[in-house]
């Protein structure tokens, strides 16, 4: 483990009953580094991301953030990790703005989100209830939450699903800017080329 390592997985293994999803998985990730998680459907990409987010436990091995086991993180260090799964975490009965305001309050942040909404082209639906948004627009709203959270480590599970070309390009641009600014990201995707950048780590689960 080098000094720069922030996120570290050691001898990670996950068993689902008799079936082994993956075992003996090692990786280390430092600032300004991107990891792309590839593998067939059912190879354990989501499971691994959930372990890294602290939402699940591995069958064996350990996952640490700054040397602390991720499942035991609390408070400030917990807030450094952002996880965006298949669900958008939008309340369908609240407007986009209300959803973002709630999300910011949960993370103890108070910031304006007009700029982010404009960048995502969500400004015209900002006061519409989330249930009237298209799947792509909901994804964009989830992107807004990710950006507003200002976390150091991004864990994204197939983030480009439902996004149009423009949305994908924006997400890739944001990711690259996040990495360049000293951030880390682990992205599960079926199109690893999309996020391609120099020095990216590829974790292949198949």
């Amino acid at each position: 483990m080098t000094d720069r390592t922030l996120l570290c997985g050691r001898e990670l293994a996950v068993w689902r009953g008799e079936r082994c999803l993956f075992e003996q998985l090692h990786f280390e990730l430092g600032p300004e580094q991107l990891a792309v998680l590839v593998g067939a459907n059912g190879s354990g990409k989501t499971t691994l991301l959930r372990i890294l987010a602290g939402l699940g436990l591995p069958t064996a091995g350990s996952a640490t953030w700054k040397g602390t086991s991720i499942a035991e993180l609390a408070g400030e260090e917990r807030a450094e990790i952002a996880y965006r799964g298949h669900h958008d975490a939008l309340k369908r009965d609240m407007t986009v703005v209300e959803n973002l305001a709630f999300h910011s309050a949960l993370w103890g942040q108070e910031q304006a989100f007009e700029d982010v909404l404009e960048e995502l082209k969500l400004d015209h639906v900002a006061h519409m209830r989330a249930r009237y948004l298209s799947a792509g627009q909901r994804r964009r709203a989830a992107m807004a939450m990710l950006k507003l959270q200002g976390a150091k480590l991004w864990l994204l599970d197939e983030p480009t699903t439902n996004l149009d070309g423009e949305g994908r390009a924006l997400l890739v641009e944001w990711t690259h800017r996040h990495i360049a600014g000293g951030g880390l990201a682990v992205i599960a995707t079926h199109q690893p080329d999309e996020f391609a950048m120099r020095g990216a780590l590829v974790i292949d689960l198949s």
Partner: protein, 221 residues
């Protein structure tokens, strides 16, 4: 804005935007309470005898009706995960959610009970005690219901199991609640059972959120 406030306001807002669902437990309560006089001979003295018990049992049953959405909705859309991941302690988040749930489901129910009590010929003088007993029972009931909802959040259909889990645990509320109301109907002092209800409420509010938060964490994995 603190996390408690944010979660409380969010849940209240969502509840009021789906207000038709809020009415279900209330209508259920009215139906149950109306069925009893139809099944029994409706002489006023007999009604008064069973009335207290019927009101309490109907309240407990109605409160079970609204619990499925407490954590399930948030688990389905992914926001429960985000709450678990946020730096706000889960016990605080859970306490806010339970408070919001109690305000929108139990409070209207508690307002309805004294009205129904009047139709059971329970003397007006006993209504304040009945209301106080219900208010003291409400925190414990909310925590028990939330614990049941949290334990079954990972199951696809938790509704019927929650009833089996939670209803037996509400027995102390039923015992002390009906006792207080009965004593008050007979014009006797009601302090002892009310104090017991208050003690149970203190226990539930202080330890309940810890248990519920732990149950949610296990359920979401």
């Amino acid at each position: 804005m603190s996390a408690f406030q944010a979660v409380l306001l969010r849940d209240l807002r969502v509840a009021f935007r789906r207000w038709s669902e809020l009415a279900h437990p209330l209508i259920f309560f009215v139906i149950v309470v109306t069925l009893f006089p139809l099944a029994l001979s409706p002489t006023s003295s007999q009604l008064r005898e069973v009335g207290v018990g019927v009101l309490w049992v109907a309240t407990l049953l109605s409160s079970l009706l609204a619990l499925d959405g407490l954590f399930r909705a948030d688990a389905d859309d992914g926001s429960l995960e985000q709450m678990l991941l946020s730096p706000a302690p889960m016990t605080i988040t859970v306490l806010a959610k339970v408070t919001a749930h109690a305000l929108v489901t139990l409070l209207p129910l508690i307002c309805l009970v004294p009205v129904s009590a009047y139709t059971f010929n329970i003397p007006l003088a006993a209504l304040p005690t009945l209301a106080v007993a219900l208010l003291l029972a409400a925190p414990t009931l909310s925590v028990l219901v939330a614990l049941g909802a949290a334990l079954t959040v990972g199951l696809r259909r938790g509704g019927s199991i929650v009833g089996l889990l939670v209803l037996p645990l509400t027995a102390p509320l039923l015992i002390f609640g009906t006792r207080a109301t009965d004593l008050s109907v007979n014009g006797e002092p009601t302090t002892a059972p009310l104090l017991f209800l208050g003690a149970l409420a203190a226990l539930a509010v202080s330890l309940g959120p810890l248990a519920i938060a732990a149950a949610v964490k296990v359920g979401i994995e």
